[in-house]
Structure formats: C-alpha cells, structure tokens
C-alpha cells in the first residue's frame, strides 16, 4: 500500500506539463476509439449476464402431477386458443404405462415450453427472433423477424418447438401472454379441472408458484442440461422424461 501511494504522489509532477494540442487530439481520439471498442466487446460478452441481472419477471408454472389424471383438457384448450393446425402441438400430455398387467401404473406428464432461463433455442437463433423477454418474463418469438431456419427447433432439448405449417415460422407455447397481460391465467391453467396447473411470477415472493416451489419437492425436465426451466413438476416420475430406447 505505501509503495503504491508514493508512486501516485509522483504522478502529478510528470503530467503537469502542457500537452501540445495535436497530441491531445491524437491521444483523446485513440482513447475514445479504444473505449468504444472495449464497451462494444464488453456489451457483447455480457449480453447474457446483463439480461440475468435485469430480470424483473419470471413467469412460471407448477404442475402438480398428484392431481393430474390425464384428461388432455389442457391440450384441447391450447389447440382452440391458438387455432393450432393439425399435427403440431404447443401443449400435450405424455402418457406412459409402467409394469405388466395386472401390476400396471400409468403416469402423466403434461408438456409445454419450459420457458428456460438459459434457453438453448435463444442462443442458436441467428436473428434474435427467439428471445427471452425479461419485461414479460418468458421466452418468446418475434414472428416477423423469424426466417424459418428451424435452428431453434433442432436445439430445443424438449421438442417443444415446431415449424408452424401455415405461418412458416417457429412456433411454441407462449404462456398465453395475450391473456396474462390482461390479467387472466393461460388457457390450459384456466381449463384444468383438477387445478393441477398453477401459474404465476416466480420472482414475486407472494405468488402461489413461488410458495409451491419453495415448499415442495419440485423437479424440472432434464436438469443436467442446465437450461433452468420455469415449468416445475411436483411428484415427477423420472421414467416419464425423455425418449426410451432399448439398446
């Protein structure tokens, strides 16, 4: 510390000399240019980190699988809400059977976009059409900017995305943001007869999802990929996750 102070004391003597004007312009010019380059590269590097620190909202869904009995109402509500064409689904219920008759158990896994905090679909998008919207708190698509390269569909580890057959752009669940913005819950949550789906802002400490996530043993899909999903399951059956291939 002392040595540093000594050296800083000496500095004014050397810099007291007047700078010639031309030198001054040259130096300030290079300083401005290098600062601009530095700022540019830093902002590019901190792109994701910045977004994370700014997070205001994080829309999330808790699906209580103890209550789900596989009626597929959520799939139908979603289909009619968005007029989703045949063959593609924004929301569906995966169903598996475990064991052999008569000892069989059926498990349900309602599926939708996980609205990850660290979404692989967003990082591969070449036009920033797929983006994480921190104002609204979800992963969304600027449809007019999407060129339909399908890179996000390839990169999504949950098969939640698809190429819209008529719009010819990427499409997926958007947590019914048009409804949420008007203060009502998503269509699938609204229609669920057993109240297995609970929706809210995870960053709001008073929200029901926050309380459920904090007080229950919750699971997410494929946590090993570190995508940080915003869809949480209570009482998830591991066997219902991912594809099953016998080798």
């Amino acid at each position: 510390m002392t040595t540093r102070r000594e050296s800083s004391d000496k500095v004014p003597e050397t810099t007291n000399k007047k700078l010639p004007r031309r030198d001054f312009f040259k130096k300030s010019g290079t300083a401005v240019a290098s600062a601009a380059i530095l700022a540019g590269s830093l902002s590019a590097c901190n792109f994701q980190a910045k977004n994370k620190s700014k997070t205001k909202k994080r829309l999330a869904m808790v699906i209580d699988l103890r209550k789900c009995y596989g009626c597929h109402s959520c799939s139908i509500a979603c289909k009619s809400e968005f007029n989703v064409p045949l063959g593609v689904w924004r929301s569906w219920v995966k169903t598996i059977d475990k064991g052999k008759y008569p000892k069989v158990k059926r498990s349900f896994l309602p599926r939708l976009c996980n609205h990850c905090e660290n979404p692989p679909c967003v990082s591969v998008c070449p036009t920033q059409a797929s983006h994480r919207d921190d104002e609204k708190g979800l992963v969304d698509i600027h449809e007019e900017r999407c060129i339909g390269c399908k890179m996000c569909i390839v990169a999504c580890p949950y098969d939640a995305r698809f190429s819209h057959p008529t719009k010819k752009v990427a499409n997926k669940c958007d947590f019914c943001i048009h409804r949420v913005e008007k203060g009502v819950v998503p269509s699938c949550v609204n229609t669920c007869p057993s109240n297995a789906r609970i929706f809210g802002d995870l960053n709001d400490p008073d929200s029901e999802v926050r309380k459920l996530v904090d007080t229950n043993k919750v699971q997410v899909l494929k946590p090993e990929l570190d995508t940080e999903p915003s869809v949480f399951y209570i009482d998830l059956d591991e066997d219902a996750v991912g594809g099953h291939i016998t080798t």
């Binding site: 590019a44 792109f47 994701q48 063959g87 593609v88 689904w89 569906w92 219920v93 995966k94 169903t95 598996i96 059977d97 475990k98 064991g99 052999k100 059926r106 599926r111 692989p120 967003v122 990082s123 591969v124 998008c125 070449p126 036009t127 920033q128 059409a129 900017r145 999407c146 060129i147 339909g148 390269c149 399908k150 890179m151 569909i153 390839v154 990169a155 999504c156 580890p157 949950y158 098969d159 939640a160 995305r161 698809f162 190429s163 819209h164 010819k168 752009v169 990427a170 990929l225 066997d239 991912g242 594809g243 099953h244 291939i245 080798t247």
Partner: protein
Amino acid sequence: MIDIYYNVFHKVPWDYWIPVYFYFTGLSAGSFVLSSLFTVFGLKQFKSLAFTAGISAVILLLFAPIFLVLDLGQPFRFWKVLVPWYFNPYSVVSWGSWLLTIYPIALLIYCWYMFKENEKMIKIFGISTLPLAIGVHGYTGFVFGLIQARVYWYSAVMPGYFLTSAVLSGIGLVIIITLIKDKLLGGSTLSELFTPLKRMMIVIIMLDLFWIFCWKITLLSGTDEARASALISLNDSLYIFGVLLFGMLIPFFLLIYPKTRNSVRWLVVSSVLVLIGVFLMRYTFVFTGFEIPLS
C-alpha cells in the same frame, strides 16, 4: 417395463437441402485448400491445379447458399441474418451467414487475380481466403457440435471431422475435374500429380477414420441415448455400406493394394466412391441425429 402410451413428436424440421448444402460448402472449401497448396504454400507441383480448383470452389459456393435459402420457411427473409443489429454472437449460424457472404467475395477476387496472373495479389488473397474457407466449412461442424440436445452430434470432433471430410471430397472432385480437363484439352496433369494426390487421399481417409473411431467410441461409452444413437447408425446399412465400406474402406484399399495403386483409373474410381461416400456421410449424419426422441 415402460410403455409410451401417448406422446407427441414433432416432425424432423430440416429437409434434404441441408445435407446437400453441407456437401457443397465442403466441396468448395476442399477445392480451395487444394488450390492454396500452390498459391499460399508455394508447392510448385500443384501449380497446374490451382486455377481449376479455385474456379470450382467459386462455382460450388455460388450454389451452396441457394440450398440453404431453399430450406428456410421464409426464404425471402434470408437477408435478416445479415442485419447487424439482429446479429447474435452466441449463434453459430449468425457467424456462418457472415462467412458465407464474405468468403465468396474473397474467393472471386482471388480467382480474378489468378486470371490476371498477378502473383503478389494471388498470394495476399490466398492467405486471407484460407481462414475463411476453413471457417465456412468449420462452422457447419460447430452448428452440430454445439447442440447439446442431440447426443449424436454433440461432440468436439465435429469441426475437425467436417473439415477433413471436406478436404477428402475436394480432392475427389478436383481429380475428376482434372481428368475431364485432360480429356477435353489434352494434357497429362492428372498423371503428373498422381502420386501426391493419391498420398493425400490416403492420409485424409486415415484421418477421417480416426475421427469416426474417436467419435463412435465416445458415443458407445456414453449415456443410454448416446449409445443408442451410435447403434442406430451402426445398424443402418446406408451408413455401414455407403459411408464406411464404399465411401472409405474400398477407396483406401484401392489406393494401397499393389495391383491397383499405380493406375490412374483406380484413382478416379476411388474419387467417385469418396465423393458419394462423403455425401452419404453428410446425409446420414444429419438425419441419424434426429432419430433419438427428445420428449
């Protein structure tokens, strides 16, 4: 015992244009590497090849982006990848789009100076185009190698494997073009370059086999899904016969077997086999990656 009673699978998003596109950029980058042997690395014996290989690199690369645009859902919006403020530094495709724009321009200038026989400018543009050529095909390796969701692709060997197979297909193509040129214009370029081209082909096939070995071994000792994806490819007759046997092992054998290794004819046969093999490699690679269900 687990039975999937109901599930939704979305259809494979990419069409056949995608492997065709990878094939063409690979051919272009491979041809350019051959052309640069003389213009950048100064190997005099390859002088007669430099111009032909350069021109074939340009023509192939003018076609390649067309296939990419054809696969887009919104082909008329392709220019949006080049809007600077839409640029996504995390997206390999973003970088690749810029490479695909700059590389053909650099290549055209390079060929222009080759046409003008301006040695100094050829060298300058050769040196600056070489990293672009490597980038334009190397990035396709990263497109796959960075997708964590698809176990079959998620491997560090991808950029290297893509590059060596690109050079392999490039050599095959240049051999065939030189043969046609010799037949039409009269000349003996191919028989003069017979030994170096043959040796390059042997070395690169060995390198390719090494990549495949590393990659398949890691898959087989990986997770359930990784092992399954490796077994799917090893049970696929198109992969076993098309890519490995006819695409690599038979050409390799023809190039080293004493009775066939000294004939230009068998070199041409190997080149044709290698060209087909590399295309099938791109094809099976892309579509086997989609075989493992994600949901």
